[in-house]
Amino acid sequence: MASTNRRSFLARSAALAAVPAVATLAGGALADRAAAGTLPDYAPVPPSALGPAVNAQGFYVGQVEKNLYWVTDATYQAAFLTTREGVVLFDAPPTIGHNLQRAIDQVASANGVSNQVTHIVYSHHHADHLGASSLFGKDVTRIGQTETRRLLASEKDPTRPLPDVTYDTSYTLRVGGERVDLAWHGTNHTPDNTYIHFPGHDTLMLVDVLLPGWVPFDSFNLNEDVPGSIAAPDTALAYPWKHFIGGHMGRLGTRHDMAVYQQYIADIIVGVKLALVNVDPTPFFAKYGDNAWAAVKEYQAAQVAYASAPVIKKYLGVLAAADVYTASTAFVILESIRLDLGVGSQVHA
């Protein structure tokens, strides 16, 4: 497989870390531990989680519907719409980087349309989905939610130029006879995350909520607003669509993927509510006395183990990496159910 060469691994790892362009293999004791093969084993990834193979340049570009395309490096995803007046690009992940224009060139030349990117729509402000925006220069019209602009203004990252066009709750983008509906329905993954609906293409793009075929990344995908993120799939399903662009991993999603994901989160919530009732805090507080944080830590670790064990078992072979990240997501959901919803709160007499 092409993905076993060092260059590919570096490109993929760039998704997660600001590694120098030329990383050295002398990474210290921890990397030595990796080299020595003492990392834990995990269950194999179900084949249904994987997408099409990437080409020699490290990308795959595919048609979503008609003139709407998606590009992936097997970890990140962007999309683009070819129109008679130029190309509208949706997100610009730095791990795909220059392959974005290569993918567009390939599709444009095959169809005899313009390969000129005239607009970039930002799904949300995070650098891992936008850090290649500056590659498209100053003459592109950038579009994003009001909060996206505010957050980018405070972050001052030259690779993510501010959007020129902003909106508060909804915006209809019309370019070259095409229509895209952008909408903000409240906070979820970030305060500014946008629903991008393609009514003429039976497609919804919503980034960093559902990662088709996979469990969420660490800590419930690092979602800032946990209740908002739990509610987002219902909002997404209220739109008509067949194809889903989730911004991550190697394939498109379906409504069935969204339903499986919703059930996975619902199962975690059930487990967490049981843990809040069934795990007895007494032994932890008795053991640690004055060290309140030691008691809290061990008690909550026991609650997380109680909540996540049946969920991991149920989803192994269904969602990739259920045994890698479910506990960390269960912890974040437990805290939200305790702190936001007040479940399990006992009032001192």
């Binding site: 997660l16 870390a17 990397a31 660490d218 690092l222 007895d280 061990e298």
Partner: protein
């Protein structure tokens, strides 16, 4: 019947906590009430804190943690009786919407005037918890609460721990109340004290220090905080940030992704665990014996992980651009 706790292997031992982290002893009912300055008092159960101000027209309560619960009124009664003032709680100020600081609010009934940020009201509406009645009085940026000749300044300076967490300044009592950012004498718990906005959380102590005050009511653990406590906390966070930058640049990810193969999340987890361990280890070593619970590695590790991710995702760049 049997919980995992009953059958769990013995839980680990941790380093003794520094004496400086502890507050005063609790009474038989499980609370301590102490004067902050003049007619401003704080109540603690050793883990949570609330505050109250006695005035000519009644008592203003600041937060109502359920773990203190019925002891809030007992503490008020004790002080009111000793000073011959009213023990009726007339106002309740919410620092933020979280249940662990607000769920004894309903004990004070329907006639109390509740005050909170507009987002506190919005979030409490969302949460639908009868133990935390909605604030009737809300504000967007600032609100001056004047009751019985006393003045309290409430201010919202952006999201940090939660979107709605406010600064409560007592200009005539040399005191700031600001919850769930600095834990006096202790490290933050998991994930930067479970904070939603990492950049906002990291910037908050500097905003707190811009106010004039000698006493800080931080909402947690047994004692009041000082400006020095805030400075130590700031240094702890700054050390984690510096260490995270170093570790991101120096841990080679390749072996982890090789080991993970098609299981990309396994590769990512192996790599990021290594970065987090490398970044957190010197911080844990430096603060053990300085901040209580610094040796509970999961706390400093998860806080480091959140800061490291925010450096990538918020501040950028997240990594190199594919050539």
């Amino acid at each position: 019947m049997t919980s995992p706790a009953d059958s769990a292997p013995a839980v680990p031992d941790y380093a003794p906590i520094p004496r400086t982290a502890l507050g005063p002893a609790l009474n038989d009912q499980g609370y301590f009430v102490g004067r902050v300055e003049r007619n401003l008092y704080y109540v603690t159960d050793g883990v949570y804190q609330a505050a109250f101000l006695t005035t000519a027209d009644g008592v203003i309560m600041f937060d109502a943690p359920p773990s203190i619960g019925g002891n809030l009124q007992r503490a008020v009664d004790e002080i009111a009786a000793a000073n011959g003032v009213s023990n009726t709680v007339t106002h309740l100020v919410y620092s933020h919407h979280h249940a662990d600081h607000g769920s004894a609010s309903s004990l004070f009934g329907g006639d109390v005037i509740r005050i909170g940020h507009e987002d506190t009201r919005r979030l409490l509406q969302r949460d639908g918890d009868p133990s935390r009645p909605l604030p009737e009085v809300t504000f967007t940026d600032r609100y001056t609460l004047a009751v019985g000749g006393e003045r309290v300044e409430l201010a919202w300076h952006g999201p940090n721990h939660t979107p709605d967490n406010i600064y409560i300044h007592f200009p005539d009592h040399d005191t700031l109340m600001f919850i769930d950012v600095v834990n006096a004498g202790w490290v933050p718990i998991y994930n930067l004290n479970l904070s939603e906005d990492v950049i906002g959380y990291m910037g908050a102590p500097a905003i707190a220090l811009d106010y004039p005050w000698t006493h800080l009511i931080s909402g947690h653990l047994g004692r009041l905080a000082t400006r020095d406590d805030v400075a130590v906390h700031q240094q702890y966070i700054a050390d984690i940030e510096a260490s995270s930058r170093e570790a991101l640049a120096s841990v080679d990810p390749v072996p982890y992704y090789v080991a993970g193969g098609a299981n990309f999340w396994a590769g990512v987890k192996g790599h990021l665990d290594a970065v987090t361990e490398r970044a957190a280890a010197p911080v844990i070593a430096k603060y053990t014996g300085v901040l209580a619970a610094a040796d509970i590695e999961a706390f400093t590790m998860t806080t480091t992980f959140q800061i490291m991710q925010s450096l990538r995702l918020d501040r950028g760049p997240s990594g190199p651009v594919h050539p």
